[in-house]
């Protein structure tokens, strides 16, 4: 896929950073105003999806390669479990909000407040954003490379027939 028309490309090159910035705002202020990890992650993923629809799959693959995305996904899952286990080790209860209760209470309505909740938001963004990006990326690749197995065997010399 080589992308859409010039109009779509121009407009999406203007709004892509705005969408990304809005996603980051939603994430960082998720504990103060409406929003949070899930919505922010989907917004970040959708900014990449916009690029993928407008400019084609190759550009996105260069910016955010598939192995990196799947590593971010795993990192998000790992860090979320780590936060939970840290609560068990430090606070004595699985998933307890140890930062708020013991070390860093913060002040209400400030960015640094709520203990582990903003950290959990950021971690969930990694998880959700990378996951949704991967799903859409895999589906679009499945669509454009949808040759049958016989054609693929004939076209790809690394698989199958040696002679």
């Amino acid at each position: 896929m080589k992308g859409m028309t010039v109009i779509v490309k121009t407009v999406s090159s203007w709004v892509k950073m705005l969408i990304f910035l809005f996603g980051i705002y939603i994430i960082l202020f998720g504990h103060l105003s409406p929003g949070g990890g899930f919505a922010g992650g989907v917004i970040l993923a959708s900014s990449y999806v916009l690029l993928m629809l407008a400019f084609g799959r190759e550009l996105v693959e260069r910016n955010l390669p598939l192995p990196l995305a799947s590593r971010l996904d795993c990192l998000g899952a790992f860090l979320f479990a780590l936060l939970a286990i840290l609560g068990l080790i430090v606070g004595g209860v699985f998933f307890v909000n140890f930062l708020y209760q013991k070390y860093l209470p913060g002040s209400t309505f400030h960015l640094v407040s709520g203990g582990t909740i903003p950290l959990s938001n950021i971690v969930i963004v990694l998880k959700v954003g990378a996951s949704l990006f991967l799903v859409i990326f895999m589906l679009s690749r499945f669509r454009y490379d949808s040759k049958g197995p016989a054609e693929k065997l004939a076209s790809d010399p690394t698989i199958g027939a040696k002679e």
């Binding site: 699985f94 209400t108 909740i117 040696k162």
Partner: protein
């Protein structure tokens, strides 16, 4: 209140069009319209968190559905419905309708939260004690990342497993050479 009836009418019309139209692309777009109507309803019910999530997921889901739809050759559905299937679905819809009337009789009025109707609910406790328990002002976040963090861990696990399955099924290169025999 009239606003909700207008939105409800909009959603019902979009749902009927989504079921009845022959063009798959228009059907997908009507499904999107249903989601936008629901999102507006959440917004007017003062639930901006749900509204944001609903509209964002709806847009992304719409894109996925459209991509999956227009890639197929068959974008028009033709053919008549079976008589037996129609009868069965009408009977099931009638049963759900009768049960639904009884359920809606027992529910509190639309737009009124449950905890103003029933005493000692969990949501009342969250609203009155959430700020001093967790220190965040967005109580939705305080519920899903503090009080009910197990739920979020479960959701993350479900998402992780789904991605794992999708990547295994949709990969394009097999790891094993073809001529190797199955063990």
């Amino acid at each position: 209140m009239a606003l909700f009836y207008i939105l409800l009418l909009f959603i019902i019309i979009a749902a009927i069009i989504a079921v009845e139209t022959r063009n798959l692309l228009s059907s997908v777009i009507c499904v999107g319209a249903i989601g936008f109507g629901g999102s507006l309803m959440f917004l007017f019910l003062r639930a901006p968190d749900i509204a944001i999530t609903q509209i964002v997921v709806e847009v992304l889901g719409l894109i996925i559905l459209i991509r999956a739809t227009i890639s197929r050759d068959l974008t028009f559905i033709s053919g008549d419905r079976e008589f037996f299937g129609t009868v069965v679905s009408v009977v099931i819809i009638f049963v759900i309708f009768v049960a639904g009337i009884r359920v809606f009789d027992a529910m509190p009025q639309f737009g009124v939260p449950v905890f103003s109707h029933v005493q000692d609910t969990a949501s009342e406790a969250y609203i009155s004690r959430g700020l001093q328990d967790t220190g965040v002002t967005n109580l939705v976040t305080s519920v899903y990342l503090d009080y009910r963090a197990y739920d979020t861990l479960g959701e993350a696990t479900v998402l992780f497993t789904a991605i794992l399955g999708a990547m295994v099924i949709l990969r394009d290169k097999s790891r094993k050479r073809i001529e190797e025999p199955d063990v």
